[in-house]
């Protein structure tokens, strides 16, 4: 553990933390790019999702729902519900970043899991380090994520049947990887198990995409009742 007190802090240490998150997360953009093209999105649409939506879980949700035959509306709703947490990150970061005017509109786009995570991990280095960690990670992930999205999309365009390359399993694996670190206590584990079962039970009954959205009720009930 590095420790720097007072006004000055080790800027290189902050950059190192940012890069150690940005590069691996960014390369995973290649998996998104490939999965998105395999799901039927064009290279342009795939890149638009990474540039404009820029939030991994929501992006995978949008392509997943559309690939399984869901309507655009349920894709938007599922992606949007997964995007709520970014708004809460912004709420958490707002007093630390102390942004005003136009800057807020730019910084909002890089308010995601990784930038917030790195910023919060700099707490012992002070608020200036948190700000630097947030911005450098946000920009780093944005750059690498978009670059590798294009690489993945172009290479998937060149290969034929996605099942031959295991791309149809890569999407649920990605969701599992995003879910895994959140299963920290029995409450989240119960919610996750219930949700998987209910979504599968509803799959033959409801149009594609809706079974996924319906599981939000489980979050509302468990979140409301538990202490």
């Amino acid at each position: 553990m590095r420790q720097n007190r007072g006004v000055s802090f080790d800027r290189r240490a902050v950059f190192r933390d940012s890069l150690s998150v940005s590069i691996p997360v960014g390369t995973y953009g290649a998996a998104f790019g490939a999965a998105s093209v395999a799901a039927g999105f064009s290279v342009a649409q795939t890149c638009a999702l990474s540039l404009l939506l820029f939030s991994g879980a929501s992006q995978f949700a949008v392509i997943g729902v559309m690939a399984s035959g869901g309507s655009a509306l349920s894709a938007i709703a599922t992606g949007g519900l997964l995007g709520i947490r970014n708004g809460l990150y912004a709420l958490r970061m707002s007093p630390i970043l102390k942004l005003s005017g136009f800057k807020r509109f730019l910084v909002a786009q890089v308010t995601i899991d990784e930038s917030t995570g790195v910023a919060l991990s700099q707490e012992n280095r002070g608020e200036a380090a948190m700000r630097l960690g947030f911005i450098s990670t946000g920009i780093g992930v944005f750059f690498f994520w978009n670059f590798f999205t294009l690489v993945g999309a172009l290479s998937a365009n060149a290969i034929g049947n996605p099942s031959m390359w295991g791309l149809d399993a890569a999407v649920p694996a990605a969701f599992l990887g995003l879910l895994w670190p959140r299963l920290t206590n029995s409450k989240t584990k119960i919610a996750a198990s219930l949700s998987a079962v209910i979504a599968l039970l509803l799959t033959p009954i409801l149009p594609s995409g809706l079974p996924i959205i319906c599981t939000v009720v489980i979050a509302l009930v468990i979140g409301w009742k538990s202490k």
């Binding site: 638009a48 879980a57 949008v62 559309m66 807020r104 959140r182 939000v216």
Partner: protein
């Protein structure tokens, strides 16, 4: 405009507005513990539902095939604390092998 573009641009707009909203509303909103708990659980239930539906269903039918093999390998990789890209690669390779032997 095609459905895919509507989904792409619609979801992008909503997600951007959600990010921006946090910078525009007063931060006292975060103080409610019930809302925080619900917010913590929403990604959990959605991601879990997506895992299940994407690996075990085809056209509104529940179906067990090569994808489940890939998912099990992903779970093992995660349990072994494998990095994200390695985990996805392992899942894809396992699924592709099972597909080739038409399981």
């Amino acid at each position: 405009m095609t459905n895919l573009w509507i989904a792409t641009l619609g979801a992008s707009t909503i997600c951007y507005l959600l990010k921006l909203s946090g910078f525009l509303v007063p931060s006292t909103w975060l103080a409610r513990p019930k809302l925080q708990r619900i917010n913590e659980l929403i990604p959990v239930v959605l991601l879990s539902a997506l895992v299940a539906v994407q690996s075990l269903s085809t056209d509104s039918r529940v179906q067990v095939d090569h994808r489940l093999g890939g998912l099990i390998v992903a779970a093992i990789a995660l349990r072994l604390k494998a990095p994200f890209p390695i985990m996805m690669l392992a899942a894809a390779i396992a699924s592709a092998i099972l597909y080739r032997f038409s399981l």
